[in-house]
Amino acid sequence: MPLELRDFEVDDYGRREGLWTLNFGPQHPATHTTLRLLLTLDGEEVVDAEPDIGFLHSGFEKLGEALDYNQYVTIVDRMNYISPMANEIAWHHAVETLLDIELTPRCKYIRTIFAELMRIHDHLLCVGASVLDLGGVTAFMYAFNERERIYEICERVTGQRFHTSYTRVGGLMFDITDDGIEMIRSFVNGFDKAYADIDRLVTRNRIFIERTRGVGVLSKEAAISGGATGPVARASGVTRDLRRDEPYLAYNDLEFDVICCRDGDCYARYLVRMLELKESIKIIRQALENLPSGPIFAPGTGKEALPEKREVYQSIEGLIHHFEQIMPNRQLSSERGSIYAATESPNGELGYYLVGDGSFKAYRARTRPPSLIHFALFPQLIRGCMLSDVVAVLGSLNIIAAELDR
């Protein structure tokens, strides 16, 4: 029984007259980053939208075959650049699944804290930018003020504000210090005020509600068939959250709620993201309270994990171990096999399909980017809406072109 073309819906808008095409071009302040939409309009109503992507395609997947598992984390950082450490955590989660490495409790908790900080980082931007696109500049400034504090935390802990490259196979680059923990704690304590500022300004704002309620509705069936995950799917009623369904890192020990909505419109997606901010703060608080002490790299992990810097500089075994790990002609081998491993990144299910061929480089490092899947849903969301709704829907989907195009 072959799958036949007659199963597909056929557009008959070609018979309508007076349609005009608008190029919502790659350079536009309201398309977050470089993506292009060819809109076919009937007056102000959008009849069809054809996305054209690939402006930021940089061959990341080809690079994945040339760089080893520790080097590729720098590339992975640059995919969803709004929440860089979330990508690193997802990548090394996949690599550690392939190489069958178990992390130490301290490493798990630190990675969890940063995954949630990155979730706050991403949701603040998405909420801020989507409100900015509709004209509300103040909420955008409030959100970005908080994000600046997260950049400072990243700088204190990892040395880099933005593309941190903090995780390594089996651990982290170096341990977090006490002043880093203090900074995170003061951020968490000061967050409620900023959240209240944005919330009071936007959530019951008449203009915002009129522009986002009922706009860009994604039904539950369309979300599942279209492969939507993360806040976009949860706002449509798909109650899946990888932190609860396939717990990784320290999520098994932490208590949090999964936020879902039934409506599936832009307002629902906004609400899901806002409430997830509160849940993330809850998770970080619990993780900070229960942060275990101990090493970052599991001792006796096998030769895949890098030794601690103190060992490298002060003992001959550490130096030899480090040399064996880093030098390309001496790296130790891994198993052959392929896996798919995903984490709940702020945008959705960020998964990596890794094929290992026994060396320390991936044979195939495929990224399953949530932005690509969500942008493919865009034409069906926008049909029948007005031109000004294009911006509202695009903002609510949180499309990041670097992840879209890789």
Partner: protein
């Protein structure tokens, strides 16, 4: 019973197929089917086993993989959103028949995922509504993620036709 044995039993009861093979690695189950049985197997998985989400469609070029007997492997990652079960389905392809039936009529997420696999590897998906290049420009002549395409490219970027203001 292992995960693979459970899947094997379940699928053998619904759709017998002697050419089917199973493998398991790191607790993840993989089903290997032949290209002719792919369409029926995927329909059965969606309709009878409730694998209602297609997470990813990708391809692997096995040209430099030691011990590989075929050239390309097309991989589908499936998910059951109710129970959380995952399954990976693989099909092996060889030149010159690099075609696979499209999964668009079963899962809409296959649309752009298959376009990207076509763009990067040159694998054609039969009955796909719009099989055009997705990420690369339309005039691009090669399939970059194949192993015989060099990482630095073949000068396409250097020779890309530029439209001047006078021409446009």
């Amino acid at each position: 019973m292992t995960l693979t044995a459970k899947w094997q039993e379940r699928l053998d009861a619904l759709l017998p197929d002697e050419a089917r093979r199973w493998s398991e690695f790191r607790g993840q189950c993989r089903l290997i089917v032949s290209r002719d049985r792919l369409a029926t197997t995927m329909s059965t998985l969606r309709d009878k086993c409730s694998m209602d989400m297609l997470i990813d469609v990708t391809a692997v070029d096995l040209l430099e993989y030691q011990g590989a007997k075929d050239r390309f492997e097309v991989v589908y990652c499936l998910l059951n959103t109710e129970s959380g079960e995952r399954l990976t389905v693989s099909v092996y392809l060889n030149e010159p028949e690099l075609t696979v039936p499209s999964m668009y009529s079963l899962w809409k997420s296959a649309d752009w995922l298959e376009r990207e696999a076509y763009d990067m590897f040159g694998i054609r998906f039969e009955n796909h509504p719009n099989l055009k290049r997705l990420l690369l420009p339309e005039q691009f002549a090669s399939y970059p993620l194949r192993k015989d395409y060099p990482m630095q490219g073949r000068g396409e970027r250097h020779n890309f036709p530029v439209v001047t203001r006078a021409q446009s």
